[in-house]
């Protein structure tokens, strides 16, 4: 038990036979043996290796583990494309209200009107923010929103009697976009970004044919650039009967700045855990609502909210719907948070949030441009992609710059993405960081640049001040150990 955060033994190693934590049984009369009731032959032995710990031990275990994490609430976390903004704690408090948290999903609608009303209001707000006609809160995350949107596109075309098989995706796209295309049964055609880092209408015109179901594009794109020809591109697509799918993961740049619907988008997914500030949870849960233009509404997944005389209900009788992609309707606990966030900021707050996010990104870009030039000359929106020449000059990689940043108490930016930029550092500061924090980050980045040239081993061996030194990821992949096994039992 070290003084400072440090290694914590695995649960299974801390386990001591016979020890126990919570006991959830009610006291009561002795009962018939459960195995006898269910059928002895159906029942297992006790689970060998399952942990046996007291409640204080369990709590200490996880609290000590928590001490090993960086997190937005504690550190600047400018992970590009992830929008690690401050998550107001009141939103967590609201989601935990028994009226929400203890509500069973199959509660009769008339006993769940508050939850349904909240979702209806959220759908309305997201429609207004995106400039779209209909919203489904169904998808569990951005990627599932993408899949949902693409299946909607497929169903729409099919209903029109067209069986289109291709989706155009720019080379700068986030990995989920091509993966979603495959999952939705489309083949993917790659559109090249131009040298300035955006998509030209020309390129789309070149690729467009009657087999193209949609173009899937992120805007601002992954270089942080607002796609200047997007309206023209949308027109081209629509002319050929194709749809514009807008990946809304970067909506944090567009609140009150541009509505995807006005840009010509037919489908857009939102990542509530980014733009609408639901906490990221170490990798979810998030929520990935999708919004569509009216003609696509019939194809949205079931269930859908429906207003009846008796109030709101969830309707699954929608013949053209693509069906469902999960149980129930949406990651409700995250929807509560997103709803509260929108209410708190309101019209002006949301518009200001995007503008401040853009301000912060451009401030960082400007203050670092001599050492880490932007990958594009275009103005940045809410994030900027930086480059450097340290590899050439000092044999120091982006990866090593990132590791060194840890020593300064900053979570590194997203690295090596977008793929079209060599050694990219994708920095998204978000609007909730103060100028002082940005300045401190600038100082660290500048100092690291100097170190790279003078003492590159400092970077190569970083981090130096964390509870763990460089962790061997190659070894992990080469000899995968994906679970604990009792001493003596071989890993398989």
């Amino acid at each position: 038990m070290p003084a400072l955060p440090g290694a914590v033994p695995l649960l299974f190693v801390e386990s001591v036979a016979g020890r126990r934590g919570a006991d959830l049984r009610a006291c009561g009369a002795p009962q018939p043996r459960a195995a006898a009731l269910v059928g002895e032959e159906l029942c297992r032995e006790e689970i060998a290796g399952f942990p046996e710990l007291s409640e204080p031990q369990v709590l200490r275990h996880f609290l000590r583990l928590s001490q090993l994490n960086f997190a937005q609430a504690l550190q600047f976390y400018p992970l590009g494309s992830c929008t690690m903004k401050y998550n107001p704690v009141v939103n967590d408090q609201m989601a935990a209200l028994p009226g929400f948290a203890a509500l069973h999903p199959l509660t009769p609608a008339h006993l769940a009107q508050g939850a349904l009303e909240l979702m209806a209001r959220l759908e309305g707000a997201l429609a207004e923010i995106t400039g779209m006609d209909a919203v489904s809160l169904h998808p569990a995350a951005g990627a599932q929103g993408e899949l949902t949107g693409l299946l909607v596109a497929r169903a729409y075309h099919r209903k029109q009697g067209r069986m289109r098989s291709k989706v155009i995706v720019p080379d700068s796209a986030h990995g989920t976009n091509p993966a979603s295309c495959s999952l939705a049964g489309f083949s993917m055609t790659v559109a090249k970004s131009n040298r300035r880092g955006f998509l030209e209408a020309r390129e789309i015109a070149r690729l467009l044919d009657d087999d193209v179901a949609a173009l899937m594009v992120t805007n601002p794109n992954t270089l942080g650039v607002f796609e200047p020809e997007i309206v023209e591109i949308a027109a081209l697509l629509h002319e050929r009967g194709a749809l514009l799918y807008l990946d809304g993961a970067n909506m944090n740049a567009l609140l009150g700045v541009a509505k995807p619907g006005d840009l010509g988008a037919d489908i857009v997914q939102l990542n509530l855990h980014k733009t609408f500030s639901t906490p990221h949870g170490g990798g979810g849960p998030g929520a990935g609502p999708i919004a569509v233009k009216a003609p696509l509404d019939p194809f949205l997944p079931v269930p859908r909210l429906k207003r009846t005389e008796a109030g709101w209900m969830l309707d699954s009788k929608r013949p053209d719907s693509i069906g469902r992609l999960r149980s129930f309707y949406g990651n409700f606990a995250m929807l509560v948070r997103g709803y509260c966030y929108i209410r708190a900021l309101g019209t002006d707050g949301l518009a200001l949030a995007s503008r401040l996010a853009i301000l912060n990104a451009n401030y960082l870009r400007k203050r670092l441009e001599d050492l880490y030039p932007s990958a594009t000359a275009e103005p940045s929106m809410h994030e900027c992609v930086l480059t450097h020449d340290l590899e050439k000059r000092a044999g120091v990689s982006t990866f090593e710059v990132a590791k060194r940043l840890l020593d300064f108490g900053f979570h590194p930016p997203t690295i090596y993405f977008p793929l079209i930029v060599h050694g990219a550092l994708m920095v998204e500061p978000t609007e909730t960081e103060s100028k002082e924090t940005l300045d401190a980050f600038v100082d660290a980045m500048r100092r690291i640049h100097a170190e790279a040239l003078t003492t590159p081993e400092l970077l190569k061996e970083a981090p130096h001040t964390l509870p763990f030194s460089r962790i061997d990821e190659v070894e992990a992949a080469r000899h995968p150990i994906l679970r604990w096994r009792p001493e003596g039992e071989p890993q398989r």
């Binding site: 006790e46 994490n69 960086f70 609201m94 009107q113 469902r324 030194s469």
Partner: protein, 438 residues
């Protein structure tokens, strides 16, 4: 800051967005609210959900009412866990990565399989991803057999995920009208060479415990894979593990493990499989490794399966998963531990069987005779009418089965957990056995 950038005003920064678009982007929402106002409004909405409190509930159907120990939320509310993201930088994420490694181990132990991933969205989508995974493993086969007794939303989700693939066909295996169990003979008679995988609930959508071992035998005879799908994960503490019975991929919903209800989301999809199939697995995986000082450490691994590396050839598009829910399950399972979890499962069985027996004594019979864990289907003349009567008596139960199974219009589910007690069971008996018309 504007000066440093060299612009005069905030709006100059968005000049790359055409002015006309900006003008139209003006939002028509209400003005912002103070925290107190937001809290008051949200609280008022929460109060409107009368079904969330004051009722004795026997609602099941895929999400289960279990007590969540306070220590779970104490851990989940740690900002270090809640406001971190996917652990791309392992040196700054050993809390998250180790917890996921522990989660993977716990799921492997529960399912009796070699390994598990870091989480999926929920049980239904995990089943769909399992079918797609089975397809990658088995190659060019065409037929996906879904037990009709599988949860309806799981079946529908599989259908949606497969809808994009013209070359795949699903076939439904009926259930036995008496036992509520999958008809083994109908599985047997499928065109074996074309079978890719079969999916069976464990327990199934009637709460009944499928004979997984026998199903596996048939499926393996066809050289196909068996996917088991568990909605009530607590059952795995008592029932033989799917892996031991021959399931190749075990998926399910981990909501029972400390997540609460939350009106249906987030859930916790889990997925376990055999080592040899790991490279076809979707989702994040954490592996054990070492740091430079040789200390045991953990990091994301085998990323070559994933969208950010493999892009259109990835095993899935999943990116953000349900990491914090996996943490909740890890804390929950650690707290209950080997003995507590087993005893809790036993308590659920005891109460559910007590309820079934008492109802039977009052003339309300189980619809199916198969063995069950903590949920079972009742035969009821008029489920909706009964629900109304029950509601007046402060009771909730269901879902009624008619909407998903027209042939079971006179049937509804009852789920009994440790949150119920004998007295509630007696009230339920009274409500369901009374002759009063709704």
């Amino acid at each position: 800051m504007l000066d440093a950038i060299g612009v005069a005003q905030l709006d100059d920064l968005v000049a790359s967005v055409p002015a006309e678009l900006r003008a139209r982007a003006q939002l028509r929402l209400e003005a912002g609210r103070s925290e107190a106002e937001v809290a008051a409004e949200a609280s008022a909405l929460a109060e409107l959900n009368r079904g969330a409190r004051g009722f004795a509930s026997f609602l099941g159907g895929g999400f289960y009412r279990h007590y969540v120990p306070a220590a779970v939320s104490a851990v989940l509310s740690r900002a270090e866990f809640a406001t971190a993201y996917t652990p791309y930088q392992p040196e700054a994420s050993q809390g998250t990565t180790q917890a996921i490694f522990e989660f993977q181990t716990l799921i492997a132990l529960l399912t009796g399989l070699d390994l598990a991933n870091a989480s999926m969205y929920d049980g239904a989508s995990a089943v769909a991803e399992a079918v797609l995974m089975a397809r990658r493993v088995t190659g060019k086969r065409r037929l996906v057999a879904l037990a009709r007794s599988l949860w309806p939303d799981y079946r529908e989700t599989v259908q949606t995920y497969l809808s994009a693939f013209g070359d795949l066909e699903t076939v439904e295996i009926p259930y036995d009208d008496t036992t509520g169990l999958l008809r083994l003979d109908r599985l047997e008679s499928l065109p074996g060479k074309e079978l890719l995988c079969a999916v069976a609930g464990y327990p199934n959508g009637f709460g009944t415990i499928e004979p997984l071992g026998k199903i596996a035998e048939i499926v393996h005879r066809h050289d196909a894979l068996l996917v088991s799908a568990t909605a009530e994960a607590l059952a795995l503490a008592l029932l033989k593990p799917p892996g031991e019975l021959g399931a190749d991929i075990a998926v399910g919903e981990g909501q029972s493990f400390g997540l609460g209800l939350n009106f249906g989301g987030p859930g916790l999809g889990f997925m376990a499989c055999r080592s040899e199939h790991v490279r076809q697995m979707p989702g994040r995986l954490v592996g054990q490794t070492r740091d430079r000082q040789g200390r045991q450490a953990f990091c994301l691994t085998l990323a070559a399966r994933e969208q950010h590396i493999r892009r259109e050839r990835a095993t899935s598009n999943i990116c953000t998963n349900h990491s914090l829910c996996a943490l909740a399950a890890t804390v929950y399972l650690s707290l209950l531990g080997k003995h507590g979890l087993r005893e809790l499962a036993e308590r659920n069985v005891q109460l559910a069987h007590q309820a079934a027996t008492r109802l039977e004594q009052r003339g309300v019979r189980r619809r199916f005779s198969g063995p069950f864990f903590n949920e079972f289907a009742l035969a009821l003349d008029d489920p909706a009418g009964r629900q109304t009567i029950a509601e007046r008596a402060g009771l909730l139960f269901g879902p009624a089965l008619g909407e998903s199974y027209p042939e079971l219009a006179q049937s509804a589910l009852i789920s009994v957990t440790e949150t119920n007690d004998s007295q509630q069971i007696e009230r339920l008996c009274a409500a369901l056995a009374t002759r009063e018309a709704p």
